[in-house]
Symmetry: C2
Subunit: 383 residues, 2 copies
């Protein structure tokens, strides 16, 4: 059994969660987010693809309801002692099993929080949950309760984030080494992801984004690798992940002669990133970071090429997305606080010019200037 | 723009979907599964982590509602022409945007199918969808409509599955090459996943499973790599993925002297795999495959160590899980049919002996004996 945090730290997290539950008037919390389970107990699995629930009672006790393949997984990775199993069969009704378990825990007639906004609880299972608990308990959406507690990282968590950032830098060095005319995207991806694995790191919450030519203007993974041309552009958005904690980087690497327009795009990205760091201050709404980004991009004449968001929080998250709560968009009122970890991504996708430029890195919020985690310079690297 | 299938094949898939919709009495289909979108249009993204819906009207037209970062993604990867964008802002209500779009398509007062059983529609968004469409249209759960059409693969799909199987074999060869006393799991994982990427393949729908020592008894990914001891066991469950089509393999590789008990576990796995292939026949309920597996495992005295399922369908799927519909469990009435692709995994996890043994591979259902896709022998490989 390998717990990746001290038991005292897990206990402190549980106590903070119980306090937040009490404040919200909740007698229990039904968790479906794998992120919440990992943070509170260490439980580490992709078994959330099936119906699975971790219940935290106001008395501080945990019960996990999951499938048989996750029984040993929970024992070997978490501090959960009470693990119940539901069995695959035609017409299986795990939500009813959950109600029976809650009855046993004395939760009948009480007020329970539910993580409805979770990949671990799809809409069909959500309806079944509501039907099974109808008249049994009062349910309230508590999707953000644990997510908000996870925003500020502890020193032990920041140590993993820093290691993740080293792995991301290792991956970027591989990209710089291999990118050039005729290079195969598949080889580049293998070397970048390989650097993370060889360093003891994890799969990222979503695929590394890799695209060249016209597809350098995309910011999602897609299937189909190609070889780089003699004049090309390669966009890479990727994460080092360690103990599931993420640190992201983003770059566009021009190959061959660099158009002046693309250099101006880089200048705008660099200036916007600097402006974002200036706006990311404790107590200030993080929507102001987006506004700083937009002001610079628009001032450089790239309003048509920028996105409606310029980054988000990072943490220990699971598939299908490494993005964590909250995001930088206009008017987001969430205040920044020291110990928060953010990915700042400056993205310009100019469809008219068919040119991409991006610059992104991960920082920790401090009392002053945010702390950069990457050792790599913020300069335009061409190949 | 790269479509990975002929337009005629996409058109045929759409027509089969329209026929199934007509049979189910549906005037339109609200799709939230990325798998359905990829199969019908080529649309390839992990943007399903946000609210996103592909609507297919009974008149055969598609409309996609998604976020701005997926506008170009849809244009560059799919045949969808009508793409609408909803904007991130505090209090964004994309379900209302969807209702307005449906009104424009003349869907008011009609009967619409919804993919509720989807990672792309979590329980919170499901509630918002139901609220936005309450009194607007009649909704019916149609989660399996496209999934069922996807079960039998076309020749063009099988070509991608075969390529995926080659990549899985390449990964297994890397595992055999690197596994041994003192080997680092991270190096093994890097080489295995790297083999898939170098061959032009994709990230799998979930992480490769890798575990040794006591954690060789797990069948999920978890964080934390270790070095193999002089006497050890390494369990690997992994997929080649090509154009998102999966072909899986599973092995446990003993390191050092092999206990007789573990050899007997291998013999049971090999016999169970053979029995499963004997039971996997067109027209027969796939629950019989599980029963054949259970009979052999129990007959070899390993009832305590086997699981409640022994495999599942494979196809073009997205995170967080490569498992596709349907699964081999007791009494599953779904009949097998030629062109279906199945992963047969024989898993024995003996907690008393602290020993694991697994054997799994991917086959295509034919009129007779299922076709093996792996070139690797089904023998106990030790290191």
């Amino acid at each position: 059994m390998a717990l990746h945090f001290e038991r005292a730290e897990f206990a402190a997290r549980r106590d903070r969660t119980l306090a937040a539950m009490a404040e919200a008037g909740l007698d229990g919390l039904l968790m479906f987010k794998q992120e919440s389970m990992f943070w509170l107990t260490g439980y580490d699995t992709f078994g959330f693809c099936f119906f699975q629930c971790l219940y935290l009672d106001a008395d501080g006790s945990f019960v996990l309801l999951t499938r048989a393949p996750d029984l040993r997984q929970a024992r070997n990775t978490s501090l959960i002692e009470d693990i119940r199993i539901w069995v695959d069969r035609d017409g299986a009704t795990p939500a009813d099993d959950l109600r029976d378990l809650l009855a046993e825990k004395g939760a009948k007639g009480r007020r329970l929080g539910v993580e409805y906004d979770s990949y671990g609880l799809n809409a069909r299972n959500g309806k079944r949950l509501d039907a099974a608990l109808d008249g049994f308990a009062a349910l309230a959406d508590a999707s953000e309760l644990v997510s908000r507690l996870r925003m500020v990282k502890s020193p032990a968590e920041l140590a993993y984030v820093r290691r993740a950032a080293e792995l991301a830098d290792d991956a970027l060095e591989e990209a710089h080494r291999l990118t050039g005319p005729g290079a195969d995207e598949g080889d580049i991806l293998a070397a970048m992801q390989g650097a993370v694995f060889k360093g003891g790191g994890d799969y990222p919450g979503n695929e590394f984004i890799i695209g060249s030519g016209p597809d350098a203007l995309l910011c999602r993974y897609f299937t189909g690798r190609r070889r780089l041309g003699s004049t090309d552009q390669l966009t890479l958005e990727f994460a080092g992940a360690y103990r599931h904690y993420h640190a992201c980087l983003m770059r566009t690497i021009p190959v061959g002669p660099v158009p002046d327009h693309q250099r101006r795009m880089f200048d705008a990205c660099a200036a916007a990133l600097e402006a974002c760091k200036g706006a990311l201050r404790p107590g200030r709404p993080i929507g102001e970071v987006f506004d700083a980004h937009a002001r610079v991009m628009d001032g450089h004449g790239f309003r048509h090429a920028r996105l409606n968001a310029c980054g988000y929080s990072l943490g220990a998250v699971f598939a299908p997305i490494w993005m964590d709560y909250p995001m930088f968009y206009h008017a987001n009122p969430e205040p920044a606080a020291p110990g928060m970890v953010f990915f700042l991504h400056m993205i310009l996708m100019d469809s008219e010019a068919d040119l991409a430029m991006t610059l992104g890195e991960t920082v920790i919020v401090t009392d002053g200037e945010p702390e950069r985690l990457s050792r790599m310079p913020l300069e335009l690297v061409c190949r």
